[in-house]
Symmetry: C4
């Protein structure tokens, strides 16, 4: 999934990638630039737009603030208006007038979701639905899928992990739309557990970055190889012969509960 | 909220503050000085008296006792009768005959509460109601509000945190009077959680002192700025657009329970 | 409570103490010496015999075994037959023929309890009843009281603490006989909690020894003073004006459970 | 129990042991060598075959991989095809054509279990049944006993301990076949708890190896002596006079639950 903040334009990424990526949309506070982003992503052939709602207001990153260098002049070469997000060098904003518009919208409502829903026939996901109440609204507003996410645990950082939030979202959605999950996937056993609890698929972020930082392209490929290998080992040791066979009974014990119902799922 | 033990008189504080403060009442063991304190507070224009019941008997403060200097003569300049509380230099006791009266009453009963209730038309809170049983009595005795507090965790220090005590008090009170909370509020997310669990408002103590000790007046202002900023971030990331919108559903998971009732609050 | 293993005879202890102590009985494996111990204790005027069942088989004390000196000759001056318990120097066995009898009985049954019950009209407690099943049997066999104890946590050391075992014993006994508790009482708040959970009284062991080791007689007195002072502070801060007023509501929260029943005790 | 990977042939082990051992079968991926192993075990007089299903796919053993020496030539003297399992020097494979057959089968199904069941009249256990669903299938497929095991916690290592899995297996089996357990048995109290939760017997592995490494034959005997001694101490302190008397009431507290049923087992 390619972020709106990408340093490389979506068209270039798609060309290198060989097929169009999914697009992670940060919705600007003004509709016109938001619509222009959508049109550009459509034109680039991306099949999916994931509206991001899990970190729209930022956070009080004290560790980051303490670790900042005293001399910010090199930073300010890009971050013209201070240290917040900036469109400079962000290729997706090329040709879009962001005057008066912030890159992220801390006051999004379901009206914006409806407007986006009507504005595009692409698959529209919401990234950052972590409760049954919001899952219900997402289904009611015609969303095509949910990505249970908390921005890697960095926003509202006293919150639950996404694996804890997954069951209530899955229970609310009742199979009507896919439910994906990211945040905390580090091992094949993590993938197995998320699938067992009802995720259609999982996303990863930092493992890719760690592989990339260590060994570049081959590091990223090795990360995938390790995760897929561990998933196969977990499947074999648990006796699940296909991905489709991984259901809640593989992690639910008799006294396990979700939504107030005893976990005896047989 | 200004303590009865203040080193500055309530009239002076109100004058500097620009509007009258709330007054935290330590009820003496004898009624007459207690009533005189109430009258003085009324005359000073304070709108609220909070009767303090959460640390009336003291505690076995071993760390403090071990850290005491061997030579107590400088301490005893004020603490004339030993190291306990003393009225000397406590401006609120000026002109009040405390002969035979202790500053705090370890044997308070609901009769004293009734007497205070009848003695004043100010809003009367009780600070230190931490159980549903006492919350019920507070409502029955005509109290105007409850402050869930355990004196910063220092009294009866094996007790529950106030955030753990809050739900049973809120459930007992059922909105009839406001329920406030202090103790342990260090982050905007703490404020968010207390409001979500039913607190009308929260109080803070040590963060003010830390800010004051580090930077004086501007440190205290910065503490408030940080807390309010973090509260706004938590609200934004949780999708709560107003303080009034923060309800229990923001922290209750489907298997969360309070008072024996499953937490499905939708 | 004076142990059968005391180095000082019960008559001497009673004389110094000014009034007769309770007697902790280790039942020998043979009845005659057991009965002789009972008769001697009766003659000494002790009002209570507590039959000890919480450490009759010993334990695998590895730390102790590793810390033993290599040269055991000084030990063996008393421990004639090896390092186990020995009657030599144990004044309570003076004049009792222990030939063929072990000092403790790892195969006690309720028949022995019945025999003891019929053999004496003294109050007969059992020390070491930690489950509802044994509590029921104790009541059925006419025992006058139960001491919930696990020999200070040293026997069957993966077991529950006595404070965890107390509620099920109290619930089973339903007030028909007193239930006492020892093990882990270190603070006045521990006493408060045990009383709140239904204990009639508590026993302490190591705090006495620590006080004795540090300051002798006055150390033991100071231990009692600290514990009683802390108990009074806890009572004051909790609003319990008498020992009799300390009931389960002081520690039970609404979602607290014992014996499968929700803890709403009001 | 002798593993298929033994370095000493089952006939030699039985001769030295004085009576035939149980045999732990790793089922090759091809039927013929599997059947030949069964026939050889039958001929050697072994009474029990335990089909191993708890680690058939291996695991991502990072610590092991990091600790490997750089120069693998000494290893490869036996591990001809790389570092995986190899038949070279494994006496049980002598005379068996393993061409095209892997030593362990990561794709075992209940059809293989049925085939084994029909192929031999020896007692057939499955080692590695850790859930109620698989326990039910084991009973339905005519298995003679279950060994709750997770290969010492090494396979699918985020899984539950076997002591946690035991109750649901025991509850599902309802006494129709024996349920054994291994994994984590280090003390006599561990044995006591497993028996109390319904295990017919327990197996140990590492304690034998530690005793063997330290003192050879006598070390192994001492391990057994310690475990049996500690079991007797636990039995004595709990008042269980026979192994048969150790039932769930010895570990179940009133609020203990298994399979959604409150644990009041009296």
């Amino acid at each position: 999934m390619l972020s709106t903040s990408t340093s490389t334009a979506v068209e270039d990424v798609n060309a290198e990638h060989g097929r169009p990526v999914w697009f992670q949309l940060f919705a600007p506070t003004v509709w016109e630039p938001c619509e222009k982003l959508v049109r550009r992503v459509e034109a680039a052939g991306c099949p999916v737009i994931a509206l991001t709602v899990d970190n729209t207001t930022g956070r009080n990153s004290e560790t980051y603030l303490r670790a900042l260098p005293k001399d910010l002049r090199p930073c300010l070469a890009c971050h013209e208006g201070g240290l917040g997000p900036t469109v400079k060098g962000r290729r997706m904003y090329d040709g879009i007038d962001m005057t008066g518009a912030a890159m992220q919208n801390p006051r999004m409502t379901w009206e914006l979701v409806d407007r986006l829903r009507q504005a595009t026939s692409l698959k529209l996901l919401i990234k950052g639905i972590d409760t049954r109440e919001d899952a219900r609204l997402a289904v009611e507003h015609g969303i095509d899928g949910i990505l249970v996410s908390n921005d890697g645990g960095r926003s509202t950082e006293t919150g639950r992990s996404t694996i804890e939030a997954l069951p209530e979202v899955v229970d609310e959605v009742r199979g009507r739309i896919p439910v994906l999950l990211d945040g905390g996937i580090r091992r094949g056993t993590d993938v197995f557990k998320a699938l067992a609890l009802g995720a259609t698929a999982v996303g990863i972020g930092r493992p890719f970055l760690w592989g990339l930082g260590a060994f570049g392209q081959s590091g990223v490929e090795r990360v995938l190889e390790i995760l897929q290998g561990e998933l196969k080992l977990a499947m074999g040791n648990c006796g699940a012969q296909t991905i489709a066979a991984i259901d809640r009974s593989y992690v639910a014990t008799p006294d396990w509960r979700v939504c107030g119902v005893a976990g005896n799922v047989q």
